[in-house]
């Protein structure tokens, strides 16, 4: 079985039975930041604690990326195999609005306000066979 590695450390719990996105919450003003940070962008506080973000939220806005980006884009695709992908901000109640790739890339099937949940799926395979895992938002 291939090794599964997160696309970046600290974005979400991994490995985990029930993974979740992680944020830092400021102990001073209570504002959540994603990705988690050592200080608070809202109040400059330097005491934060890491917590899990809710797994479900609503689509705040979205677009579909119709052409393959240049580097630093790094997927398994070639210009021939590239498929347009959705990107959106999902409002996670009590947390923040997180920007993420959407599992849906058809503009006809995306609308502001629809319910979304976070899923963790393979994004690309490294040369050494490792599967790189990223978070995506999927229509519920």
């Amino acid at each position: 079985m291939s090794n599964q590695v997160p696309i970046a450390e600290g974005l979400f719990t991994w490995p985990s039975e029930n993974p979740a996105l992680l944020c830092s919450r400021c102990k001073n003003c209570g504002i959540a930041s994603f990705p988690s940070a050592e200080s608070c962008m809202a109040c400059s506080g330097q005491e934060v604690e890491i917590e899990e973000l809710p797994r479900r939220g609503t689509l705040w806005t979205w677009t579909v990326q119709q052409f393959m980006p240049k580097t630093p884009y790094h997927s398994d695709e070639t210009p021939e195999t590239f498929k347009p992908y959705g990107v959106g901000y999902v409002e996670l109640p009590g947390g923040v609005r997180v920007e993420g790739r959407l599992t849906e890339g058809d503009p006809q099937r995306l609308s502001i306000g629809m319910e979304m949940e976070v899923v963790f799926e393979k994004y690309r395979t490294e040369d050494n066979g490792d599967e790189v895992i990223n978070f995506f938002f999927k229509p519920v």
Partner: protein
């Protein structure tokens, strides 16, 4: 102390294979010096910037090495605005009497590919394909259309107007009008924005000569006074480009903040402005920036644009030189292009793209990553 613009110079925007970015900057500087009737040796200081065409102070190699303080400025799309504000303050403070502001650039074809790590964002953000300014603009207008009832046709109309104005401006890149249907039906880049709704990276150069207001008439019969020049960065809670997350509660962005401060500094209001240059990296941006800069209520743009109010002959002419849509985006030069165009308009020298009615007050606005805005108000 008033600060005046007494010389303006431009190198045509677009693609000029025979000249590098620095040479386009030098061309614009020589034009500005000639316009003010001064020599490079008369300049007491200079500020300048380019994003992709080298250090602006290398202009000394082209224009002559005179020993003046030449400060390089790098502030993304607000580079030109930042140079201008620095020059404005250098004169206003009494430190210098006259100096030059320069902005030029030369970018490769295709979308900008920004480096996430330079902006303090993890590499993963670019790897998964979210390091795209185009996506931000698309998502911002998508939400705006949903909230304020702006139609897709209005998006296309903004581009149509830009290319009409570009066709009247000899320094513009895109000089052919494009039918509104062709704009709407061109390749989708990032929903809801099509290819002809986005500006493209390009090339060009602009230079301005600024001096103390009380000596301006030594250089020109038509000085244009800089009544305000303001730069603001984002506050927590504003919705900005290259943001892996945003706050649940939204606050006004840097455009709103810069605009309010600029009107207050100039002692005028949006209704007093005769000609507007608003950042139009894509057609949605022009629509949203009309309201963010205080020129209308959110949603009013639908009627204003459909009724032609933003055309050269309309009551609120916007981007009279074709804006970024028709001129492209050479990052270092764009903000100064807006000022160049405003000065032309206020002098009454804009030729085929001249706004009628003897305009007295001009307004310029730029917005850039990662959430900065620069605004100027100019008076003849």
């Amino acid at each position: 102390m008033d600060v005046a613009i007494v010389g303006i110079g431009i190198h045509p925007f677009g693609r000029t294979p025979s000249r590098n970015g620095l040479q386009q900057g030098a061309y614009a500087a020589r034009e500005a010096l000639k316009d003010a009737g001064v020599s490079w040796q008369d300049m007491q200081f200079a500020f300048g910037g380019s994003a992709s065409a080298g250090n602006a102070d290398a202009l000394g190699n082209e224009l002559g090495l005179t020993g003046i303080p030449f400060i390089n400025v790098a502030n993304g799309c607000a580079t030109g605005g930042s140079s201008l504000i620095s020059a404005y303050n250098a004169i206003k403070s009494g430190e210098h009497d006259i100096g030059l502001v320069s902005g030029f650039d030369k970018h490769d074809r295709g979308a900008f590919n920004a480096d996430p790590e330079a902006l303090g964002i993890g590499r993963w953000y670019g790897e998964v394909g979210m390091m795209m300014t185009t996506q931000f603009f698309a998502m911002k207008i998508q939400k705006y259309m949903h909230d304020y009832g702006i139609s897709k046709d209005t998006l296309a109309k903004v581009s149509e107007k830009a290319f009409i104005n570009g066709s009247l401006n000899p320094n513009a890149w895109r000089r052919e009008p494009i039918a509104v249907e062709e704009i709407a039906n061109s390749m989708m880049v990032s929903d809801p924005l099509t290819k002809f709704m986005f500006c493209s990276p390009s090339e060009g150069g602009v230079a301005l000569i600024l001096c103390r207001g009380d000596i301006a008439r030594q250089y020109t019969d038509k000085p244009v006074y800089l009544k305000s020049a303001v730069l603001k960065s984002r506050r927590y809670g504003s919705f900005e480009v290259f943001a892996p997350s945003q706050a649940l509660v939204q606050v006004d962005g840097p455009t709103v903040d810069a605009s309010k401060a600029a009107f207050e500094m100039a002692g005028v209001g949006p209704g007093d402005i005769d000609v507007l240059q608003l950042q139009d990296t894509e057609s949605g941006a022009e629509i949203m920036h009309m309201a963010e800069n205080g020129f209308c209520e959110h949603g009013e743009q639908e009627h204003l644009i459909q009724s032609g109010a933003t055309h050269i002959g309309g009551r609120m002419p916007v981007n009279t030189d074709g804006g970024c849509l028709a001129n492209g985006e050479p990052i270092g030069a764009s903000g100064l292009r807006q000022v160049f165009e405003s000065v032309l308009q206020l002098r009454g020298d804009a030729g085929e793209h001249q706004v009628p009615g003897d305009p007295q007050l001009g307004y310029t606005h730029v917005y850039g990553a990662p959430g900065i805005s620069a605004v100027t108000i100019l008076q003849r």
